[in-house]
Subunit: 286 residues, 6 copies
Amino acid sequence: MSLNKTGNIQNFLGCDASYDDANVVIFGAPYDSTTSNRPGTRFGAAAVRGDSYGLETYSPYQDADLEDKHIYDAGELELSFGRPEPVLDVIENATSQILADGKIPLMIGGEHLVMLGAVRAIAKKHPNLRIIHLDAHTDLRQDYMGEPLSHATVLRRCHDILGDGCIYQFGIRSGTREEFDWAKKGHTHLQKFNLAGLVELVESLGDVPVYFTLDLDVLDPSAFAGTGTPEAGGISFMELLNVIILLKRLNVVGCDVVELAPNIDASGVSTAMACKVIREMLLAIS
Amino acid sequence: MSLNKTGNIQNFLGCDASYDDANVVIFGAPYDSTTSNRPGTRFGAAAVRGDSYGLETYSPYQDADLEDKHIYDAGELELSFGRPEPVLDVIENATSQILADGKIPLMIGGEHLVMLGAVRAIAKKHPNLRIIHLDAHTDLRQDYMGEPLSHATVLRRCHDILGDGCIYQFGIRSGTREEFDWAKKGHTHLQKFNLAGLVELVESLGDVPVYFTLDLDVLDPSAFAGTGTPEAGGISFMELLNVIILLKRLNVVGCDVVELAPNIDASGVSTAMACKVIREMLLAIS
Amino acid sequence: MSLNKTGNIQNFLGCDASYDDANVVIFGAPYDSTTSNRPGTRFGAAAVRGDSYGLETYSPYQDADLEDKHIYDAGELELSFGRPEPVLDVIENATSQILADGKIPLMIGGEHLVMLGAVRAIAKKHPNLRIIHLDAHTDLRQDYMGEPLSHATVLRRCHDILGDGCIYQFGIRSGTREEFDWAKKGHTHLQKFNLAGLVELVESLGDVPVYFTLDLDVLDPSAFAGTGTPEAGGISFMELLNVIILLKRLNVVGCDVVELAPNIDASGVSTAMACKVIREMLLAIS
Amino acid sequence: MSLNKTGNIQNFLGCDASYDDANVVIFGAPYDSTTSNRPGTRFGAAAVRGDSYGLETYSPYQDADLEDKHIYDAGELELSFGRPEPVLDVIENATSQILADGKIPLMIGGEHLVMLGAVRAIAKKHPNLRIIHLDAHTDLRQDYMGEPLSHATVLRRCHDILGDGCIYQFGIRSGTREEFDWAKKGHTHLQKFNLAGLVELVESLGDVPVYFTLDLDVLDPSAFAGTGTPEAGGISFMELLNVIILLKRLNVVGCDVVELAPNIDASGVSTAMACKVIREMLLAIS
Amino acid sequence: MSLNKTGNIQNFLGCDASYDDANVVIFGAPYDSTTSNRPGTRFGAAAVRGDSYGLETYSPYQDADLEDKHIYDAGELELSFGRPEPVLDVIENATSQILADGKIPLMIGGEHLVMLGAVRAIAKKHPNLRIIHLDAHTDLRQDYMGEPLSHATVLRRCHDILGDGCIYQFGIRSGTREEFDWAKKGHTHLQKFNLAGLVELVESLGDVPVYFTLDLDVLDPSAFAGTGTPEAGGISFMELLNVIILLKRLNVVGCDVVELAPNIDASGVSTAMACKVIREMLLAIS
Amino acid sequence: MSLNKTGNIQNFLGCDASYDDANVVIFGAPYDSTTSNRPGTRFGAAAVRGDSYGLETYSPYQDADLEDKHIYDAGELELSFGRPEPVLDVIENATSQILADGKIPLMIGGEHLVMLGAVRAIAKKHPNLRIIHLDAHTDLRQDYMGEPLSHATVLRRCHDILGDGCIYQFGIRSGTREEFDWAKKGHTHLQKFNLAGLVELVESLGDVPVYFTLDLDVLDPSAFAGTGTPEAGGISFMELLNVIILLKRLNVVGCDVVELAPNIDASGVSTAMACKVIREMLLAIS
């Protein structure tokens, strides 16, 4: 299946450039079959697209407007359910097309596993890739109930590709003792609970190509309830916003926003949060 | 009342026989990874177990009481998420053990695909097996988005095992034109919309071993809203109850109740319905 | 504002013809500002469009398939909130364009008042128009709290245009005494509670141009809870389906489906019902 | 419109007579402390009062209008929580006052136990009282977990007062075997599942004083989901409506509507149903 | 306890003074027809009144008790739906009456547009009026989709009355670039994101008459989810509480609390928040 | 995996020790009959047990793992509804057994009144008991609507047992003026709004036996919405976590976690919060 390049009338707010004119391409990855707790992230990207019209295109935080940007929204990838392999292939393929055309992909999940498809494509083009990972969970298991491809193993699979020291994890507050111990051996840089060291990291990375993966459950559940496994003790929106604005100073070659399960938060606050986060990310990277 | 010191046990209402004494064994199959619309049936069996205590053990319909029966509740099988093959293996294995011990399995889903694990085990013991299938959907696709193992293909996979004319479908009101046409060629007996012919079928089956699979979405959504893909135009509870009572006259060697997604019906009516349906099934087959 | 004729990637299921090839044109009318009880029908058409993908294109009831039809979905009209006049103008204008191009409009509400915009346009082309109206409510007030344009007055406003004896109301079970009395004087044909006489009406109408307006609250709340003012004692889905199939024998020049408030029925059953009703209507009129 | 300066009043729709002018007096009994399954009926009467304004005062079923009646709404009784005795005392006292003033009480629950307070008062004035009881449940236990005062024992407590043969139960479909057996011995007239015999009963009762107690869970959960213990297999709204209209032919000296738990049915359908049922009851008894 | 025979009264907690004795008058303004995102604020005041009984009359923050105050609750104004003009007239009229009687009005919305009716009345009496405005949104558009009267234009309409420099906006974090630019030209004092400068403002205002308008969406959605357009990045309850206590030092001649949409936050937290905010406001201004 | 043939067991995550091996014993107290606002805490313990499997056994905060602990989960006590006395007897009895066996009880509510049963048992063994009480509410009334046993009086009843100066209350922000005044006279140590002084208290208590009672509504509603009477202005999870870790330094002889009403927070965040709080408490006291 090739990427839809011919237009999607229902875009994310303000993302109505043609594919050719765009320097950033959004797409949805509606897959959540390996979710071990409450599913529903498959509806994340569609919900974000629909609710984005409750938002303004202008950000008073960055004094910038989506109407001045060139962003194309390719809509939802057609993904099957159940086995993860064919799903990851479709995502890798779509990402590769976007990269080949010199654009930056922003994928909206879906569960965190979808990230692996994107990283496979990007690491081929950028072997020196670094990953900045915001999450409540380590996601570093070798396998989950015997399954190597899972939302709970996805950063470990990225480590398989990139090797030691290339993954920077922040906000982590849940995982097995084995995962924390494994990280501590230097396989990843893991910052428990908060964002300490992130500003310094951004300074040090310079032009190195970076993939930014945002598991929205890094936010405190008070700010973001709409996710399968909410973990008390997370970061605030203002802390996250400051990280996003820092992306301007990085060479972001791809990014994602994952783990919004819109039906879990019937108030719509979580979907509205995701919309605003994506608006700010688009303004920062485009 | 003295404190329970021997273990914290949560069975389906009134199903507290020991395994050895039981002639019926309940187990849950919490898997919904191939669900193509709204997921959540993974929580079906656990919800039924919890809410069953709002029910009486006595049925005025059958003038019978679960307290006079010998039923064991084995709890939930431990199933992984994502790929269906290992899941079906665990279900087949559990079913085989129950059969080997001379008991009747009653599986609570989970999505409809879990049925395939049970049928694989039962068909080995009973090669002349017949399936009575109540559902809103045909479930007869050869594959779904390239995937042969799916809730949308499960009866087709059962047909692969049993061959033409062994599957009796009732209440069907949704499917592709190809599925309806395929059934019409004699591969299955498909009764559209209602239960016409079911009484006669029961008369004719005699002692032939029967697997009874109940996709609860055969019920009208007014009676049962808690399912991923509700289809208007279904049967009523009283119609279903009459079918269940007929099970007494069949040689039921296994059965299931699938596709309850409890969180979709926040009123609890659907879970209460499933509890009552299971109570009546247990009274009919034990 | 002119109608979008250039394509809407998020269509109602199977309605992906080009505007030029289509003989039926769907559009959404997201307005609910005069709703006097619980609002939310503004989200009706968008919800239907999104959830339609849980449905099959094939109807076993009519043995027909949307894939064989030529239907264009123009998406949502851009309507303001508050004052009804400008909203009705936009609807009238869109309807007129569709009529001018020789196509049949199917409008998805929104509240019932949106119907008036369509009837204004159609009555200009078809002065001998008849209206078949299924509803729980009379909608015949002269004004509502001083306001002549309201969901509670919309059929009275249609009567202003068409005159006595041109409106056939069925399933009506709520209204003021004055409204029932006014209808009884011969201003409209009002059938209380049920559909008695509808088959005979269809026989008698022959080629007369008919506008079919379906307020979904004519359904019993057990079947359709997702509406602002549910009224016990309504018709069943099967009764409604039989009416819809009768549309084949009428000269339907326009129609609507209104008063779905999707958020009121969190189970999704009402939205799924509306999807199926619209599928069957499309198959019947195209 | 000038500002209301004489007090902020919220009645049930159309029940704005003064106490002295009224022949029927409504009051709420917000108590649910003995509920053994899901609580919440304490909010029933307040919800009904608020949502009644979505209804018309006119009934096309009875061709009658609340505006022509004289009904006073006394609001909620002030009831404590926990121990039932003081609660029943308050209810008995309020009922006695209404009776002493020659008016008919209509109590809105709350759980079914509140009925006992009213029956205590009424049976003092009318020793030959008969009770017509519509319910899904027998409510005939001698005690529930050791407690003689409970929603599950309330009709048994009424039997303590009235003796054998004075209670007529309809629609019953859930209870222990012991309860059904006890009724069968002639203690009560118990009609399982449906309303068979009710018309004949009304004919035979003549002028005998009757208390009508309506546990709304007698309705099928498809029609009425908002109750603590929904029981599939109930009666329809139209069946219930026909019973209510029969009340005109009885000497109703008191009545209640109980077991609406409004928060359990977030769609509002159950509360709207209760409003309509109460409107029809008021029109029938006043 | 004897039965209430003198009228069924539902006030906001503790606000049971007679109109004549009161120095503060509460009324509800149930209108939300221009809401462009999710409607439902029409139910705000009624919800607040009902849920206020979960609160204590005593505030430990101000060491003051509503029982020591003289406040009258006039209930809901009767407002039509749709066109805003007649609605604003009713509100202006009610406000004028309260002012004429020397009392302070506290209006509970409804959407923000209702404020305009109150300001029209108050500005006539107090031409040197100042407005303190807490909100997430600028509300400064000249028109919204062609409509000059809208929740999105309401502060601009107030500016039409009061002129430059009389409106002080705090907590603003959403709007078009044009609105922020327009404010920056000196038309209003607009403090982005937070409350900086508010204490100093209060000091400087002295005896100038002040209207305080509180759009509750100024709160962070974590604290207040029950509103149509939640905007991440808002202020906390404790910050808001400190502002409210400052009202004691101002000459508040009128105030409102708007944009609670109670059904959007099913947990009831938002309605409980609004109740507490109103209690504290009443204690501060009376 | 072979089928579980030895009984279907549902514990709180990781609490699968035998009773004899355990040093901490969990039990549920499903009672909420005196709740004066919204009920539903009866489902608290069952919800916590079910959702605990979304959590890890390992705590990165304490670097400790439930798998290294010896904890037994006795499931739910069988409690009746309505009158509180027999319920408190069952709780007192269960607590006494656990104490007699030299173990620490951790009770999961249920409403706060259940605490009284535990304190009665513990104070018999430890007459010099101190209570540390975190709550939004004073709970110090002498009676509530005439009832001395109520969630609103429970700490007063504990004071009846322990006398002046033995109860330390923190985070209190709601109550009557009389309750605050009564505390101020030295009957309890009451810290309004926050946790000031708690660290010093822990230092000073040394080996004195302490009962720790945690009413989860001490948390801010943004963090914990799932409770009957949410009170804005509460403490954060991180503040609570720091208190829990301090328990290590105390001689905790019993504790409880009460007032989770899981159905009130449909997002599941509150139940997940309670699970994590209980995990941390178990790690701190065992």
